[in-house]
């Protein structure tokens, strides 16, 4: 769950529409395949909330290209966040590790928006409690910059340079009924 994804914006301007999102996911899927021939030992793990349907979509695209299913699941990082003490507690989402586990696998974490990098840091910690992957990579639909940790994505759908005063709102068919990414100007936040 990226910091931006709590309440998706419905105002501001649309920067990616459904077709842009679809193309970006297709490209990410092909990039992942190029790095992992045949998609064997590949595990896609979506980060809650909106990384989960994105991982499913990428898995479906890889399956269509390769003709066999690719292991995918969901990872919840709530208990691993470094900002637990600054929010009211939230009930964790369901973590679903595919039956084959992650030991020795190539795990691709999938999230919607990469921002501070703190969600990904928490995800790396969570992953270590489930096993020891051979390789961990990161795929995001949108990279909006402003990293606070030494983390970068391996597969990026769209680089969206933003100001801190802006908010990136991503909505998906599965969770919000529509595919789109918006940029919203927040008032009262210094750029």
């Amino acid at each position: 769950m990226s910091d931006d994804a709590l309440e998706p914006a419905t105002d501001g301007r649309v920067v990616l529409d459904a077709r842009d999102i679809s193309r970006a996911l297709t490209r990410i899927s092909h990039e992942i395949l190029e790095r992992n021939r045949d998609a064997v030992d590949l595990v896609l793990l979506g980060l809650h909330t909106r990384g989960v349907p994105l991982a499913q979509r990428i898995a479906a695209r890889i399956e269509a290209a390769e003709g066999h299913p690719v292991a995918h699941g969901a990872l919840d990082v709530t208990m691993y966040r470094d900002d637990l003490r600054t929010h009211p507690t939230r009930a964790p989402h369901h973590t679903q590790i595919p039956p084959g586990g992650i030991d020795g696998k190539t795990v691709v974490l999938v999230d919607d928006v990469l921002f501070s990098g703190r969600t990904v840091r928490a995800a790396l910690d969570a992953l270590a409690d489930y096993g020891r992957p051979a390789v961990v990579r990161l795929a995001v639909l949108v990279d909006r910059g402003h990293r606070q940790l030494p983390i970068r994505a391996d597969h990026v759908g769209k680089n969206l340079p933003t100001a801190r005063s802006e908010r990136v709102g991503l909505r998906l068919e599965e969770t919000d009924g529509i595919d789109e990414v918006r940029i919203v100007e927040l008032e009262g936040v210094p750029a």
Binding site: M79, L84, R85, T89, A91, H93, Y130
Partner: protein, 312 residues
């Protein structure tokens, strides 16, 4: 969530479902190789038990440790309480060491409420006299809801609670939480173990009472047997334990009166052969061991929601 969990009155039906949802995820942690979540790293929880307990204390201890809290167990035996220190001085002293949460069991009804008023850290009632035992009721409700098919599945279900109702904090907490979950309770006990004034109470809280277990068993969706609390009884409630078993024990014969697959619960420790027969305790429909593992998950959920978030 409120800052304390002293009574089921402290949580709404919605909050109970949130605690259950979290507990379901905590339940999965028990199956992992690394049974540890970092949510309470650096926080210290004291289990202060003025009354004997094995499963509740160890359940809270495991729950705290799996959330990475430091857990310290203090029992009243061999502590300063047995040297005459007042309850207030004892809790102020132990919490002055820099504790972030207190789990307390005490033989006096209302003790946890009183202690919560003296402290500015979250207090969890792990059983106070004959008053309440909220985490037990939550784990019972969670076990039943899971068994009967998830959120909402307790709606309209009939649950029998059988045994020593007078002395039972488990009964008091369960009546409240099961009705918040939409179930209707039938309280079954011999007349001598029915709390006085239960008729008005049952009317106000919407549960039924019965003296005849055989009438109730065929029509319930779950049955919860309570322990006969020998330590709270100085005689006179029933003539012999044999007589209690004949009237109110879940015997092998009575097992056959239950509809197929009706879950059997018991908060433990069991008096096998007294309130529950070995056949019932070990039946395929017995959920007694599930209750124990649910206990850890529920207590993790409670500790997480009370201690992990921002200061209230």
């Amino acid at each position: 969530m409120t800052r304390h969990l002293l009574s089921i009155d402290d949580v709404s039906a919605e909050e109970i479902q949130r605690l259950f949802a979290t507990a379901a995820e905590m339940h999965d942690v028990q199956k992992r190789e690394v049974k540890k979540l970092p949510a309470l790293r650096g926080r210290t929880v004291i289990n202060l038990f003025f009354e004997d307990s094995t499963r509740t204390r160890s359940s809270f201890e495991i729950a705290g440790k799996w959330l990475s809290a430091d857990v310290i167990n203090l029992s009243a035996k061999g502590s300063s309480a047995s040297k005459g220190e007042s309850l207030r001085d004892t809790v102020l002293t132990v919490t002055a060491m820099g504790v972030d949460g207190l789990v307390m069991r005490h033989s006096a009804s209302g003790a946890a409420h009183q202690v919560a008023g003296w402290l500015d850290i979250p207090v969890v009632n792990a059983g106070d006299g004959m008053h309440e035992h909220p985490t037990q009721a939550l784990l019972d409700g969670y076990t039943l809801q899971r068994q009967l098919g998830g959120p909402g599945s307790l709606e309209g279900k009939r649950i029998a609670i059988v045994g020593d109702l007078t002395h039972s904090r488990v009964f008091r907490s369960n009546v409240k939480s099961l009705s918040k979950l939409g179930a209707s309770v039938v309280a079954v006990a011999p007349p001598t173990l029915m709390p006085s004034g239960i008729a008005e109470w049952a009317k106000a809280d919407g549960f039924a009472t019965s003296y005849t277990l055989d009438d109730v068993l065929p029509e319930v969706d779950a049955v919860m047997m309570l322990r006969v609390q020998r330590e709270r009884m100085s005689g006179g409630y029933f003539p012999t334990s044999r007589e209690y078993t004949v009237g109110y024990g879940l015997t092998r014969q009575r097992l056959g009166m239950l509809r197929d697959g009706v879950p059997i619960l018991h908060p433990g420790p069991m008096n096998r052969g007294l309130e529950i027969s070995p056949e019932a305790a070990d039946a395929a429909s017995s959920r007694i061991l599930d209750q124990v593992s649910a206990g850890v998950a529920i207590r993790m959920s409670v500790l997480y929601h009370l201690l992990a978030g921002e200061e209230g």
